[in-house]
Symmetry: C2
Subunit: 381 residues, 2 copies
């Protein structure tokens, strides 16, 4: 018998409520019945996005929502600053390149704390139309200080665009309070759904002005069309009906738990993973000052084949965690702490990690990782 | 008690096998387990697309796949011909406009047979890079003769791009045999899935040459990235895992029935709707020579409120058919004959149609529509 458990940073496991919603008979998208569902979904998203402005639902993965941000805000030749500290920061750079944007890339060493001063310096030119940042960099397990970034950008002419695909509903992001102009996200992380929905909030007049000015070609992701359709509680193109129905089931769970409590739960799970890793004598990839609530990257110890470790956990024992991406391939593994995950899921994953590390000849005291996590999970609040 | 039945031209009803697949626990998309699923899906799609070339799965609705075709094949300033005979033909025109394409639009009167000579004439200039056509125009219930169009385009330098969103797996489209360069489709019509997947096949060197030449900005829909990823049995961005799993369940059903049999079944259902409408004294919107196998548009008779008819069927009796779109709003209703629909579903929808027409004061012999459909369905083959 093999049981499967998913602890990857997207997709995250589906709650039974979501599975049930997905299995429902489908309804037509241009009916009052579906309009009511769509309205509820957008209201729920506003709660999670912490904005009073509209959030648009796109039938795409998160990258589609990222492209929507670039294509709608900027025109070839415009200048942008990209804060790039991992594979997903690089995605902003690639997108801007595809659209002919003059990009100034601020390279942040992977796993290190971002120094806000470089951003402040670069913004002085006054030429920047948009700053692209990442809430949680999934490839390195780093959370960025969006509040500080927003403060720096607010005093400039630029808009701030945040990729919150991994971070949304896991890491606090006070869109309106901090003045984040545009936030993009996806369905398969904190929102506990299959991949297939992208979300984008537009929360400032400054951003709408750019959207109306942009001459980049766009149609499917055109936010002007999305805005116009939304005036009739509609989407410009057929939306992913089943995923939207399931989104409401997931949003209800988030509301019932309360956003603040979700943040706390995820933070504690990540803390459990970090403490366990340390107790096992493993090194965390990200610096303490920027380690993520959503995902923890752990360095593979010397003498252990990192790819084999992840494969064995998955193919022999059914526990799927993520390996390292790009320059971290084989050098790190990553355990998620977001979405429909609970402390006992983390314990279960850690027990498998201990078992396979032991089998691979790594020396440590069996159970010491579990003990460290147990201690974290005992602490109230 | 109210039971709900869906007879709209997308979404079409979900078979239980698809609902079950959607409700399964999710797996990670970058695993050998999912790669096997993805491979099976692409193989199944090739069968339905009738091509030996690759078919790419996009996480988007069909319109996203249409945009992928335009953005990948053409650059601002390029010339294209659009065969436009309804709302979805117009979508090609709008897309080309968004991308700065010089479009020659061949306007086909809604519901009328397309005259191939105008296309042949226009192709003589030799300037056309692409011809955009529609297999089944959902807004009017018209099937286009793609075989004849392909023959005309084949002798030119242009590529032929066919929107088969509604038509695929319903209306015969011999991609390779007829030489159709690019075909786009979606998941929520003949393929019996929720909306959320787009498909695009590229079946000629001519098309790949244009794709490699195009300077239109693109990233999420970039087929060069899709092709490169597919070399590793991967997608460039997170794919809609659950929908792809369900796609295999649906493709298995299509294979088990056999594509030819599916065509026959849908054709007979459409014939049943047409004969019933005639027996009820109603006029079909589309001319006989081009009436669709996938959907039938019927003119609302004088004295009947078309919007109220559709609403009553849906909100009082639970039978959802489609109203008229754009210039046909209130003037026509549309009944689908594709996907997971069977002759008894059509009978059921017609019985509701008769009932509501009767209640609305339209004069006809009760049961005469049902009788006409029954007669069609009695005929073998």
């Amino acid at each position: 018998m093999k049981k499967n458990y998913l602890l990857t940073p997207g997709p995250t496991p589906l709650p039974p409520q979501v599975c049930e919603a997905l299995a429902k008979p489908i309804i037509h998208h241009r009916t009052p019945q579906f309009q009511a569902i769509l309205k509820e979904a957008v209201e729920g998203l506003k709660y999670v996005f912490q904005t009073k402005s509209e959030v648009f639902i796109l039938s795409s993965s998160g990258t589609g929502a990222m492209e929507a941000a670039v294509a709608n805000l900027l025109t070839s030749g415009d200048s942008a600053i990209i804060i790039e500290g991992g594979k997903f920061g690089e995605r902003w750079t690639e997108l801007c390149q595809a659209y002919g944007i003059k990009s100034e890339v601020i390279k942040v060493a992977w796993g290190k704390v971002f120094n806000i001063d470089e951003l402040k310096d670069r913004l002085k030119s006054g030429q920047t139309k948009a700053v692209f940042a990442t809430l949680c960099e999934t490839s390195t397990g780093v959370d960025f200080d969006i509040k500080a970034i927003a403060q720096a950008v607010k005093n400039s002419a630029a808009v701030l665009v945040v990729d919150a695909i991994s971070g949304l509903g896991v890491v606090d992001l006070k869109t309106d309070e901090w003045g984040v102009d545009v936030v993009v996200s996806g369905s398969q992380k904190g929102l506990m759904l299959p991949p297939g929905l992208g979300f984008i909030s537009v929360s400032s007049e400054k951003a709408w002005k750019l959207i109306n000015q942009s001459r980049s070609p766009r149609y499917y992701f055109d936010l002007r069309l999305a805005k116009k359709a939304w005036e009739q509680t509609d989407t410009p193109f057929t939306t992913s009906v089943s995923l939207v129905v399931a989104l409401n089931a997931a949003l209800k769970m988030v509301k019932d738990e309360g956003l603040e409590n979700v943040f706390k739960r995820c933070g504690k799970l990540a803390q459990g993973v970090r403490m366990a890793a340390k107790a096992l004598g493993l090194k965390l990839f990200a610096d303490e000052g920027c380690s993520s609530r959503a995902i923890t990257a752990v360095n593979v110890p010397a003498g252990v084949d990192g790819e084999k470790l992840v494969k064995t956990m998955r193919d022999v024992y059914g526990i799927t965690i993520a390996g390292g991406q790009a320059e971290l391939k084989g050098k790190a593994f990553r355990i998620a702490s977001m979405g429909y995950l609970h402390e006992f899921d983390i314990i279960l994953a850690l027990s498998c990690l201990e078992k396979v590390l032991h089998q691979m000849g790594y020396k440590f005291e069996l159970g010491s990782g579990l003990k460290a996590a147990q201690e974290v999970f005992l602490i109230e609040n």
